[in-house]
Symmetry: D2
Subunit: 305 residues, 4 copies
Amino acid sequence: MQGMNNRLHIGLVGLGRMGLNLALNMLDHGHEVRGYARTKATVDKAAAQGIKGAYSLEELAGQLKTPRLVWLMIPAGKAVDEVIEQLAPLLAPGDIIVDGGNSHYRDTLRRYRFLKEKGIHLVDSGTSGGVEGARHGACCMVGAEDEVFAYLEPLFKDITVPGGYLHTGPPGSGHYVKMVHNGIEYGMMQAIGEGMEVLAGSPFKLDLKEVARVWRHGSVIRGWLMDLMEKALAKDNALNGIKDIAYSSGEGLWTIEEAMRLKVPAPVITAALLMRYRSEQEESFATKVVAALRHEFGGHNVARK
Amino acid sequence: MQGMNNRLHIGLVGLGRMGLNLALNMLDHGHEVRGYARTKATVDKAAAQGIKGAYSLEELAGQLKTPRLVWLMIPAGKAVDEVIEQLAPLLAPGDIIVDGGNSHYRDTLRRYRFLKEKGIHLVDSGTSGGVEGARHGACCMVGAEDEVFAYLEPLFKDITVPGGYLHTGPPGSGHYVKMVHNGIEYGMMQAIGEGMEVLAGSPFKLDLKEVARVWRHGSVIRGWLMDLMEKALAKDNALNGIKDIAYSSGEGLWTIEEAMRLKVPAPVITAALLMRYRSEQEESFATKVVAALRHEFGGHNVARK
Amino acid sequence: MQGMNNRLHIGLVGLGRMGLNLALNMLDHGHEVRGYARTKATVDKAAAQGIKGAYSLEELAGQLKTPRLVWLMIPAGKAVDEVIEQLAPLLAPGDIIVDGGNSHYRDTLRRYRFLKEKGIHLVDSGTSGGVEGARHGACCMVGAEDEVFAYLEPLFKDITVPGGYLHTGPPGSGHYVKMVHNGIEYGMMQAIGEGMEVLAGSPFKLDLKEVARVWRHGSVIRGWLMDLMEKALAKDNALNGIKDIAYSSGEGLWTIEEAMRLKVPAPVITAALLMRYRSEQEESFATKVVAALRHEFGGHNVARK
Amino acid sequence: MQGMNNRLHIGLVGLGRMGLNLALNMLDHGHEVRGYARTKATVDKAAAQGIKGAYSLEELAGQLKTPRLVWLMIPAGKAVDEVIEQLAPLLAPGDIIVDGGNSHYRDTLRRYRFLKEKGIHLVDSGTSGGVEGARHGACCMVGAEDEVFAYLEPLFKDITVPGGYLHTGPPGSGHYVKMVHNGIEYGMMQAIGEGMEVLAGSPFKLDLKEVARVWRHGSVIRGWLMDLMEKALAKDNALNGIKDIAYSSGEGLWTIEEAMRLKVPAPVITAALLMRYRSEQEESFATKVVAALRHEFGGHNVARK
């Protein structure tokens, strides 16, 4: 891998919230970015912010210097497979694809082997820090072959906060560590939610925003989630504008599945996910069963529709 | 305690679903029952079913032979304290009060000591089996002094199914065992509910009532709750008429509190109770917090009102 | 499907605890059984109890009348695939394989399609009731094509308790229903365990065996698990001879995975499985982390090795 | 409340890890501290670090200027009641006691009313940030009457990090908020523990310390607990020296009890506590029950002692 150079030329696939901000972050550090997205409008919008556009993967691949570096910032799952299948014939041995999304590590391993046969390197970068991190300094957990990581390290250093990148090990390991990171995140968020709900019901009239604020400074539970908590409550101290539905996007579930596979009891991360699933339900059939059983044996009052 | 006699004369306080049926059960076995309830209408209604009425506790106490036997079948809590306070001066040493409701065992211990000073015996009978059991054969867990239990044993034998009564130990122990019984019941019911909900979402078109039916016969999970499950589904196979709210009346919570006191991890009984609490909520503030945090860091879509 | 006949000739593959007892059960009802197991000793042992043996699958297939009926009572997983692969070429269109074990329903669907191409019918019978049920009357949840079920129904009627079989639907549905049955079973067993542990720590000296006994008669939580609870405690009232490790064999996990797939919150069944996993651990790394963190911030005492 | 003065004279009761460091923190900011502890040795040790000693509560009270300010930094529970009972007759109307420990908020409310009758003010300061925070800048959640808080505010400003104190409301509210803080902490710590355990079992060879390090920089779950995680792993990357027992000191349990009282489902905080309780067990009777039941119905292998 010759021609190592601190100024890289990156083909960024996916210009959504995360991709666009990461591209701008790369530009800030002197890298060259060529952006592609499925819709022309998205590419044009990015172009308005200084990111040169490509209107097809062919065009993108054609404009990158070798070894080509293509960074995917697209939703995990089928989309990644489709792009990789389309990209593979357009790339040459020695080229590199970085999957910066939340792919399942097993998918990453599978794709790594697929590309490896063609001499193309796959790198997985679990990217944390949200949209703000993508823009101003992310946290990257990078699974890569040693030589490939060495080549990319300056880029990772540039786009992350100081101390904010790690070569976690071989391909797949970056997404693995990111998966677990998100599992922990689920547990922490639900813990905060439960605590806040107790505060909201307390016999004292507490100012939740102020509590979040003081907890940000010097407490054991200070951290970015608490920073965000204050921010959210500062906008709307009772969260009146937000519905009580919490979606999930996969990594929490995968962490639990992995824990189960390893027979690691993870009741907290699991409970956090189950409460999200519960929140998505319009009606709980399990609860109807419990209510019906109570009614049967006890003649207990049952709420009827 | 002389004059032991298989035909007892019972003053039954509380003529609701449980009390009335228990009174009829006692009558069936040749005991004499005098019933009292707070409202005249309830007493009259019981009288129409052959239960002689009393329209005040004074009247009730006055009509019982000594040693008087007063059986309380009233809601746990303050009502029991009130009745005991009113009854105490009307009774004499050697008289017996049976608390057949779901009192907290600590309340029972306190009331036992209070009555003990006056020479009045308190017996706690945890009564299981629902309304049907009260009428045709219950399950009684009886906390009582040995001599008092021996005196009452024929009555307990009469009103329970064969094998269906136990002298659990000294006063308080009956309510303790019943409390734990109900805790287990919470866990079992929620387990059935969860399983039924999975069945309802299965890729097969399952007839839930038929599944409950087959599980009643020969399966590992057969038992009365499954009998009731079939009964409820036979009326309404999708439980369309029942709202997904499951109330709770105390014993589940007390079991958990007792488990916590003993540092016994009881995650299943606890989860069962928490899902009931969740079902009572119109809105989950914890979930709103999680949704708000997701929105803050990820710009994730959040359901807005 | 002609030649329907109430007396069937069954080739039983697998003569372990469940298979052997089921074979004896079939014999009791006038069916003819030819048994096969991997080891000669097992076949000989069954022969000593009146079950004619076969020492290879070829021999077994050769001795069955057509349509051949082969009943598998072997551990779920690879063993079932291996036997089916070996059996398929030995069977003819119209023959039937019943998988009476705890296969995953997706495996059953896959095998059903594989055999269907060869004209061989696969039937899945989730079998509950334990060893005793296998011997004297089981509970069978049967997934099968309608015509095949009709042909086998007399057999299912014979080997189950009255009311103890159900045609749950097409192939796969029997194992699905059995999977959920076992999930519920996990929750119920853990609920009983937690309750028993509270009783064991109670301030009263309770006789656990007697409590289980009384709960069997007339209580809401009566059922077979409580019958077994009394039986186990009657042998050893403090379970002194049993180690606190609870293994699991798959269906609990699968129920949870299915629940997760359907986004059905199943916290009770899940907690039951996680406590089993916890019980298998010699050491909990998660707990070490918690202890280490406590030590770091609080200088709390930490148990050191 | 006159003579308000930024330089306060504090009588500090309790010179353990937290108390001693808080005293040094106060000294740093120019306040005068007189320290008392039950044993002479502890007082002498503090004196060696510049804290003037008192060898009895009488001596302490005698040396403070009015309005006297006594700060308790002692274990929650009986110790606080004992000290307050001894202190009350030594103080005069207008004097102030600050309880800086983790008292239950209901105890605080009770003590507040007791002292109020004597004209003595009770202030509750939930103090977070661990030993390090006590020394160099804590986080204080302060329940106090408005006027009293205004008097003490300069002191709270001095001993906390910038932004690190909050007047949460009337007496009791500080301990309430701190209780919930600790509940959240339980959930977060267990979430981290579970994640770390998955990492430790991963198919990759992950360097846990390095993972904790990268998560500290830019990730969503960054915060002080992650800082401590790295610190702990840096000393011992497999936590080999730490036993898998996690004790608890009350606030987690109280948070759950409060949640239950409010019917707030808090499954994550609860699971975190239950796993701690599980870790304290030498043997799980619940698991023995499950194992025994499995054995009874299935003839499953059971680990025997």
